[in-house]
């Protein structure tokens, strides 16, 4: 007999699962902190033109390497460009990379995983062996190789980061599909004559959402990190586009004299990842109350 039985579950008021999850999520201050930061970032990304004080690519060779001041809140870089403006526009790039890469991974991996888990047998075997192959090549290396093959650009970066994450999603989806597939309501649907596609779309996917949502949130974080890493070694987004990883890498050689050039982009990356991680953790707890301790 464990605590669960000692403390009887309180009778819960009937709410929709979504509201329920949100209520639970709202109870976690860290998750709320994460969500707030993400809102700020999304806001920056959407309204970059309106809120950034300068153009992110406007050079001012008379004001290079300026430390933070009233005019340039976060200082200027080696071309006299305003770092704050570049960070704000950089949010656009990073979020784009994060979400689209995860989108690619999710759609591809999710489909493969769902099909694999649902049909099992030979098809499952083949798909999962291919995933094994991809999994045994480290993500970063795979992404580098893909970018090297496709050439560096925003789109290719997203594809590379996305593809390298496909196996993760395929595995998760397959796992939850397998566990759901054997449940009674699926049997019932099948008995009622539902088509396979319908069962997958209507029953299996919605029911395997929880781990996917959590993994996707964390996945966006790791995609942003991955992309920044690639940009850091020069395989990412092309100048003069502002990208946090590239900004960090560009400021690297000035780190002793002008640490502000590396400090802020690094902070931006870290905060974003932190926010997504907090949110992901919060979502995990909210979606699966059993895990909450």
């Amino acid at each position: 007999m464990s605590e669960k039985e000692i403390i009887p579950e309180l009778v819960r008021k009937r709410r929709s699962p979504f509201v329920d999850v949100m209520m639970r999520l709202a109870k976690s201050p860290l998750a709320m902190f994460g969500l707030a930061i993400i809102f700020v970032l999304v806001f920056c990304a959407i309204f970059a033109e309106l809120i950034s004080p300068y153009s992110p690519i406007k050079q001012d060779l008379m004001h290079m390497f300026e430390t933070p001041s009233a005019e340039h809140w976060l200082g200027t870089d080696e071309f006299g460009r305003d770092i704050l403006s570049r960070l704000i526009y950089g949010a656009r790039v990073s979020l784009q990379v994060g979400f689209i890469a995860v989108g690619i991974a999710l759609v591809t991996g999710g489909m493969l995983g769902a099909v694999s888990g649902y049909y099992s047998g030979k098809l499952d075997n083949i798909i999962m062996r291919v995933m094994d192959v991809l999994l045994s090549i480290p993500q970063t290396l795979l992404a580098i190789a893909i970018v090297a093959a496709l050439g560096p650009s925003l789109m290719n970066l997203m594809i590379a980061v996305g593809i390298s994450a496909v196996p993760t999603y395929a595995r998760i989806v397959r796992g939850s599909v397998l566990s759901i597939r054997s449940m009674e309501f699926i049997e019932a649907a099948r008995a009622a004559g539902s088509s396979d596609l319908r069962i997958i779309l209507k029953h299996i996917i919605p029911n395997s959402m929880a781990p996917i949502i959590v993994q996707s949130t964390l996945g966006v974080a790791s995609a942003i990190l991955n992309a920044a890493g690639l940009s850091f070694i020069g395989l990412g987004i092309q100048p003069p586009n502002p990208e946090w990883g590239a900004m960090l890498s560009g400021g690297r050689q000035y780190i002793r004299d002008y640490p502000h050039m590396t400090l802020y982009p690094g902070l931006a990356i870290m905060l974003t990842i932190l926010a997504l991680n907090f949110l992901g953790d919060g979502l995990r707890d909210a979606l699966d109350p059993k895990l909450k301790r």
């Binding site: 071309f79 050439g151 092309q238």
Partner: protein, 500 residues
């Protein structure tokens, strides 16, 4: 747990102490990259040339002022324009104890023309054969007249290897080099450092310290830090940002020298609108090349005015006026060419070298002032070269450095029609003719005139815009004496000693 962490700390302490004790019989140098191989003909890059220069000797040595002095060849005479007789030094020992003879010289030079030497064929391709007169005399026969060839013998490709050892080692030679140089190979932790040791049977002046360690530290900041902390004695190259720091440090000395190298922005002259010389000049007029250079390099190097670097003979660089930006001229030229700059849209390509990207970024902004839209595409080296070779590019940033002190190499590799590295696709019979003529003349007034005319002609045609003429800069600890930075960037430690 506590106990464990104490042990751990003690371990760190002990090991770190063990790591620091270096008797001053060791010179530690920080280079940017590691050597790729220690086979002198298996490469054509600076870090490797530098590494080879410690292990091997060439027949002739290069002075810092660009003149030559005897090396493994005590003296030489030009029998004809194409046949050079070389008298070899006697009693020169390889690191394995064998004596160097004419056979080794013949083998070394002729090997460069085999596929193993494809990196340096530009230098060696006019070599016909090497004739052995006796054990200590050889005659180098060329296929055709090529005066710059003799100077090229100072290049890493002219290093003399031991025939017996090379033949025995085969493909593995690059890791087990044997030369006649003042240092012999000891160990090589690839990517990290190589260690050479004094060769006590060296024919010339022996090294004044026992061990030479060259570490590869790609980050300029890290090189400087290591120099400041005394972990290395000499560090190069030093980048702009680090200059003041080294200059201001009383324990360090900064050495700098302008070198024969040019960074340029090339046009693909076979592609419209760059096929129009007026457009090329118009773009040039739009660019404030002097200030671009200043903004990016902040006091290092200068903006070249001629393709032949200022320090190379026959250069007219210093006689020409500096380029100034003039938007009106540019507009006029565009009008004459019938091109509306606001409709222009092209790609500026570069590899991912920071300074080049920086220059491209400013160029992009300056071109945008008249409405020219450009996109910067940076690629890693392999893909970049590949694109250039396809000859479908628009505009590109690239550098060219001379390792041989002859103006021919400054022009031929970039603009001669059949040159493999002619990425501007410049194809001009008049220039080709001038190049051939220049090669066929011995040094003197007549040759000087050819190159002067050539430089003016190139500036008129403007297949490329000159952006930067670099300096060789090294940071040296004060206690290190006898080191002088080499304008060809093959720095030598033969005379280095310590003064405590």
């Amino acid at each position: 747990m506590k106990k464990f962490s104490i042990i751990f700390l003690a371990l760190i302490l002990a090991l770190s102490l063990a790591g620091t004790s270096l008797a001053k019989d060791t010179l530690v140098v920080a280079d940017q990259y590691d050597a790729t191989t220690l086979d002198p003909i298996g490469h054509n890059d600076y870090p490797t040339s530098r590494a080879c220069s410690h292990i091997y000797d060439t027949l002739v040595f290069l002075n810092h002022d660009g003149t030559l002095r005897p090396g493994l060849a005590e003296k030489w005479e030009f029998l004809t324009d194409k046949d050079y007789k070389m008298y070899l030094r006697k009693g020169v020992k390889f690191h394995n104890g064998d004596e160097m003879t004419a056979a080794d010289v013949k083998f070394s030079l002729e090997r460069a023309n085999t596929p193993a030497g494809s990196h340096i064929h530009t230098y060696s391709q006019d070599l016909d054969n090497v004739e052995i007169v006796d054990d200590y005399t050889v005659i180098i026969h060329l296929k055709k007249v090529n005066y710059p060839f003799f100077s090229s013998l100072v290049h890493s490709w002219g290093n003399i290897v031991c025939k017996k050892v090379v033949e025995a080692a085969g493909d593995d030679y690059g890791m087990n080099p044997v030369g006649t140089g003042p240092f012999k190979f000891k160990e090589w932790a690839k990517g990290d450092h190589y260690t050479f040791e004094r060769f006590d049977d060296y024919w010339g002046e022996k090294a004044k310290f026992k061990t030479l360690i060259v570490r590869s530290i790609p980050e300029p900041t890290n090189r400087t830090i290591e120099l400041e902390t005394g972990a290395v004695d000499i560090a190069y190259p030093v980048t702009t940002i680090e200059l003041a720091r080294i200059e201001e440090n009383p324990e360090l000395v900064l050495q700098r020298k302008v070198i024969p190298s040019t960074t340029y922005m090339g046009f693909n002259v076979h592609k419209a609108p760059f096929d129009n010389v007026k457009v090329r000049h118009a773009i040039h007029a739009l660019l404030d090349t002097v200030n671009i250079q200043r903004a990016v390099f902040r006091g290092v190097g200068q903006t070249p005015r001629s393709l032949i670097p200022a320090v190379t003979k026959y250069s007219i660089n210093d006689d020409l006026p500096a380029h100034t930006r003039n938007v009106e001229t540019a507009k006029k030229l565009f009008a004459e060419a019938g091109v509306n700059p606001a409709t222009l849209k092209f790609i500026i390509r570069s590899n991912e070298r920071k300074e080049r990207i920086d220059m491209a970024t400013i160029i992009q902004a300056q071109l945008a002032e008249v409405g020219i839209q450009t996109e910067i595409v940076q690629q890693e080296w392999g893909a970049y070269l590949n694109v250039l070779q396809q000859k479908q590019h628009d505009v590109f940033l690239l550098g060219w450095g001379l390792s041989v002190p002859d103006p021919d190499y400054a022009v031929a590799g970039l603009l001669e029609s059949n040159a493999g590295t002619n990425y501007t696709t410049f194809d001009d019979p008049k220039l080709n003719e001038m190049l051939v003529k220049g090669r066929s003349l011995p040094d003197g007034e007549e040759r000087a005139a050819v190159y002067k005319e050539m430089q003016l002609y190139i500036n008129e045609q403007l297949p490329m815009i000159y952006l930067h003429n670099d300096e060789a800069i090294a940071g040296v600890r004060k206690i290190v004496k006898g080191f002088e930075v080499d304008p060809f960037e093959v720095h030598s430690f033969r005379g280095v000693y310590f003064e405590e």
